[in-house]
C-alpha cells in the first residue's frame, strides 16, 4: 500500500480551510491568568491562615474545663480552615497548569504552598491583619456572622451564661450592650471581675460570663475583651 504524504494533505487542508494560528495574545493572557490565580490563591490562603491564628490565639481556652470538647468543636474557625484547603488545592492545580509546572511532584508543590502560607500568614497575623479582618468582617458583613459557626456563636448563649455585644452606654456600675441579634441588654457589674487589659468604653465589644436575672438583664461575673 502506498504511503500518503500526510504533511502535504494536512497543509492543503490548512490552506483550503483558511486555518490561521490563534493569536499570541490569547496564549499570553492564559499564561498570565494562571500565574495570577496561583498568586491570589497563595495570598488568600495566607490571609485564611492569619485568621485561623487569630481565632485560635483569641479563643477562651480557659472555658474548655467548663464546656469540654464541645467547646473546641464550637469555636474552631471552620470557615477559614475550609478556605485555606480550597485555595491551596486551587493554587496547586493552576501551578501545575503553568508551562513547566507539571515537572514538579505534587508533594513538592504542596510543601512549597504550605511553607509559604504558614510564613506569610504568620507575618500577617503578627502585624495584626488577622484580627483586623476578623473584626471588620464581623462588624461590616452581617452575612459573615451568619455563615461562620465559631466563638461568636459560642458567646451568643445568654441562657447558659455566655453573652457578647457592643457597649452602647455606661452608667455607674451598669453597662448597656447590644448583641449580634440586635437585642439590648442591661449588664449589672456589682460582682463582676473585669479582665485586664479591658477598658470599658462606649463602642467596645465585650464577652460576658454571668446569669440572666430578669428580662434582658444580665448579672455579670466576668467581663472579657471581645478579641
Amino acid at each position: 500500500m502506498e504511503n500518503k504524504d500526510i504533511s502535504q494533505i494536512a497543509f492543503a487542508r490548512i490552506k483550503g480551510e483558511g486555518i490561521k494560528p490563534i493569536s499570541r495574545q490569547i496564549f499570553s493572557i492564559k499564561r498570565v491568568l494562571f500565574w495570577v490565580i496561583v498568586g491570589t490563591s497563595l495570598i488568600i490562603g495566607a490571609l485564611a491562615f492569619s485568621l485561623i491564628l487569630s481565632a485560635l490565639f483569641n479563643n477562651d481556652w480557659d472555658l474548655y474545663n467548663k464546656f469540654g470538647f464541645n467547646f473546641i468543636l464550637r469555636t474552631l474557625p471552620y470557615f477559614w480552615f475550609i478556605s485555606l484547603i480550597i485555595f491551596t488545592i486551587l493554587g496547586e492545580y493552576y501551578y501545575r497548569k503553568t508551562l513547566l509546572g507539571h515537572r514538579r511532584q505534587f508533594i513538592v508543590i504542596m510543601g512549597f504552598y504550605m511553607i509559604s502560607t504558614i510564613a506569610f500568614g504568620s507575618g500577617l497575623y503578627l502585624v495584626g491583619v488577622g484580627n483586623y479582618i476578623e473584626q471588620s468582617l464581623f462588624e461590616k458583613a452581617p452575612k459573615y456572622r451568619n455563615f461562620i459557626i465559631n466563638r461568636h456563636e459560642f458567646w451568643s448563649h445568654p441562657e447558659v451564661g455566655l453573652l457578647s455585644g457592643k457597649i452602647i452606654l455606661i452608667v455607674d456600675n451598669q453597662l448597656t450592650i447590644i448583641d449580634s441579634e440586635n437585642f439590648i441588654w442591661i449588664i449589672k457589674m456589682d460582682n463582676a471581675f473585669i479582665n485586664e487589659p479591658l477598658e470599658l468604653k462606649v463602642g467596645e465589644r465585650v464577652n460576658i460570663i454571668g446569669d440572666i436575672t430578669d428580662v434582658n438583664v444580665f448579672d455579670a461575673k466576668e467581663i472579657r475583651p471581645w478579641m
Partner: protein, 196 residues
Amino acid sequence: MIDHLSCRSKTDNELVGMSLIDPDHFLCLSKRYEEKLLRYIIRISKFSREDAEDVLQEVFIKTYYNLNGFDSELQFSSWIYRIAHNEAVSAIRKKISKSTVSLEVEDLEKFGDDFDMTKNIDNSFDRKLIDEALSKLDEKYRDVLVLRFLDEKDYVEIADILKKPVSTIGNLILRGKKLFKDEYEKLIINKHSIIN
C-alpha cells in the same frame, strides 16, 4: 515556493518562527516529524496505518492552529509529541480499533537491549510475544515505555509530553519494565507449555 533542502539546516524553533510569517514553512516542520509521529501514534493506539494517518493529519492541523502557544522553554519535539499523544488518546476513546500492526524488528531489539532478556530467550525475539506483552500493559506504562525505548526520549521530554512530574516518569518506567518482563515471561512459559 519553499526549498525543502534549505529547511534541513534550520532548527525546529527557527522553523516555528518562519511558519508564523510564511505558512509554507510549516510543511518543512511537519515533514520532519511525519514518520516519527506516525510510528508513535501506531505504537500507542494500535491503530491501522490508515487510521493513524487520519490522526496525524489532525495533529498537524492542531499544531499549526496553536503554533503561537509554543514556548521555546519546552522542546518543540516534546510539544508536538504532546499534541500527538492527546490526539491519539482522544481518537482511541472515540474508536476502539483492533490491532492490525506489529512492532518493527528494530523496535523490538531496542526493548531487548534494555530489558536484558536476551539471556533468557537466546537472542531470538518473538515479535508477536513482545507486541502482546506490551499490549497487556496498562496504558500509562505502555506510554512511557514506548516513548523511552522506541522513541528514545529522555525523562524530562517524556515528562513534558505526558505532563507528569519527572520523578513519576522514572517510577512508571521502572515499574513498567518489571511488568513488561513479567508479562513477557508468562507468555514465553505458555508458549513452551503448548509446544511440549
